[in-house]
């Protein structure tokens, strides 16, 4: 059903991962999404959401920098609920800055429970990571499913998720990460945390220091995809060292025009709020990013090749 929309399919083979990006029919720039052409006032399409492709896949939603309690957060939450009717995601991952400003009990209600009430009522679990605006005691808030830990891991189907506290990457956390990664025999290894290792954002840019500590482990143990927030927009980074990097920090905050498109950017969207949906299948990950108005702004397929699945490639300059 999606194929008629596909004008361009660019096949990139990076290491063992293959990315087939599909852009909407009226997109004109090869390799880029329609992102730069979206506006907040565009009328929403009847349904821009693609259904899952596989029966037993792991389906989840990705949101970041959400805890504002503002209208935009509610609007994204409403779109997520709508999207779930077509793409029944089982859980949501949160990329940090879950509660901005004060963290009184009423803030958890106004900045999390109310906006996502429909999803919470539908028993959709949220798995949070900590951002620089989050008090680490959020790890005790049951609805964030952190089991009282700043960093933790969990499995869903054939995938293992590694949730890190990028605010404070100390030695015990690095040791823990290496132990967990080395033990994992899961088909998919997904890491997520707040600060992006690669970013074209004018405001923050790549977290080079953090990258020097964690990326060697990601490469060594075959992490496939990394999600981060912090930058208030959506960006898909060109594969780095065989790893796919996404930034989704635009689910309630927005820095309009903040993406400095360059060597790193595969696709970007910084003109409206957004969220991302992902499906981990046997051999491929489908992803789709939708705007506050439900418009598709980026989508594609990341195919997972058989082991050995990595080949080192040069890294573009970080900033």
């Amino acid at each position: 059903m999606r194929m008629p929309h596909v004008l361009l399919a660019a096949l990139l083979s990076i290491g063992g991962l293959t990315c087939v990006t599909a852009t909407p029919a009226d997109s004109v720039e090869p390799g880029l999404s329609q992102a730069s052409r979206q506006t907040a006032t565009s009328p929403p399409p009847s349904s821009g959401v693609m259904p899952p492709r596989e029966d037993d896949s792991v389906r989840f939603a990705i949101i970041g920098d959400t805890g504002t309690g503002t209208r935009s957060q509610y609007e994204i939450a409403a779109q997520m609920t709508k999207a779930r009717a077509v793409f029944p995601f089982e859980f949501v991952i949160m990329l940090g800055d879950n509660i901005y400003g004060s963290e009184r009990p009423q803030d958890f209600v106004a900045k999390f429970e109310k906006p996502y009430q429909a999803l919470l009522d539908a028993k959709v679990p949220f798995y949070a990571s900590l951002g620089n605006h989050d008090d680490p005691t959020q790890r005790f808030y049951r609805l964030f499913n952190m089991n009282g830990e700043r960093y933790y891991t969990y499995t869903k189907g054939n995938a293992r998720f590694f949730v890190l506290d990028s605010n404070y990457m100390d030695q015990p956390q690095l040791k823990w990460l290496e132990e967990q990664l080395s033990r994992s025999t899961d088909r998919w290894k997904i890491a997520y945390f707040h600060h992006p290792l690669y970013s074209s954002g004018d405001r923050h840019g790549s977290e080079v220091d953090l990258r020097s500590q964690v990326e060697p482990l990601f490469i060594k143990y075959g992490v496939d995809v990394v999600f981060a927030g912090h930058e208030h927009f959506y960006e898909r980074i060109k594969p780095q060292n065989g790893i796919y990097y996404f930034t989704q920090g635009g689910s309630a905050k927005l820095r309009k025009g903040n993406i400095n498109r360059g060597a790193l950017t595969a696709a970007g969207f910084d003109t409206d709020f957004s969220f991302t949906l992902a499906e981990l299948g046997k051999d491929a990950m489908q992803f789709q990013t939708l705007s506050r108005l439900g418009k598709p702004i980026d989508s594609g397929t990341l195919a997972l090749a058989e082991e050995p699945k990595r080949a080192t490639e040069s890294t573009p300059s970080a900033r």
Partner: protein, 192 residues
């Protein structure tokens, strides 16, 4: 001329490398080793005091009720602050460890790009004042501590963390959200 400069630079590097090698052989001991041992002892003392002061508080467990989380945090902070009423800046860091910290923080500052330096102070209100036994203001972000810098600092128990906020270097009790020690002016003050 260019050849001469290259030769001079090469010679300089060789001398530096030889000096570094010789120095490493002559002085294999970290000059701050004793300070680090003493610092760890003071941290352990703090942890003992903390355990004693908070012995009657129930452990924090996962809860759906954020009121319980904030109440526990507040109670923990109050109990610790009450037990450390006379605590002052530098009590845990100590004078010698403070010198070491200032040295590596100055190196860290030099290594940062202009953008990095600017990012450090992002969203931090001007004229911020932080003192021992103060609750860390929840309305301002916890500035990320660079991972490489963390590797140079003595490890802490999970209950404690280092933080850089504005020109302050802090020792913060993570679950009490309390400033345990503060080292001011480790970075240039706000004129950035």
């Amino acid at each position: 001329m260019r050849m001469l400069l290259v030769l001079a630079f090469t010679a300089s590097l060789t001398v530096t490398a030889m000096s570094a090698g010789t120095g490493a052989q002559e002085s294999p001991v970290n000059p701050f080793a004793q300070e680090m041992v003493d610092f760890r002892a003071r941290v352990n003392d703090y942890m003992k005091l903390r355990d004693k002061a908070t012995a009657n508080l129930p452990d924090l467990e996962e809860t759906k009720d954020p009121a319980k989380i904030s109440a526990r945090e507040k109670a923990l902070g109050q109990a610790i602050a009450a037990a450390r009423q006379t605590a002052k800046s530098g009590d845990v860091f100590g004078p010698e460890m403070s010198k070491y910290l200032r040295t590596i923080l100055a190196e860290d500052w030099k290594s940062r790009s202009a953008a990095d330096r600017k990012a450090l102070f992002e969203e931090i209100p001007p004229n911020l004042k932080l003192t021992v036994n103060q609750v860390y203001p929840t309305t301002i972000p916890l500035v990320t501590l660079p991972a490489k810098l963390l590797m140079k600092l003595p490890m802490l128990p999970e209950a404690l963390e280092y933080r850089l906020v504005d020109h302050y270097f802090l020792l913060r009790d993570r679950d009490a959200n309390l400033v345990i020690d503060v080292l001011p002016k480790v970075y240039p003050t706000r004129n950035r």
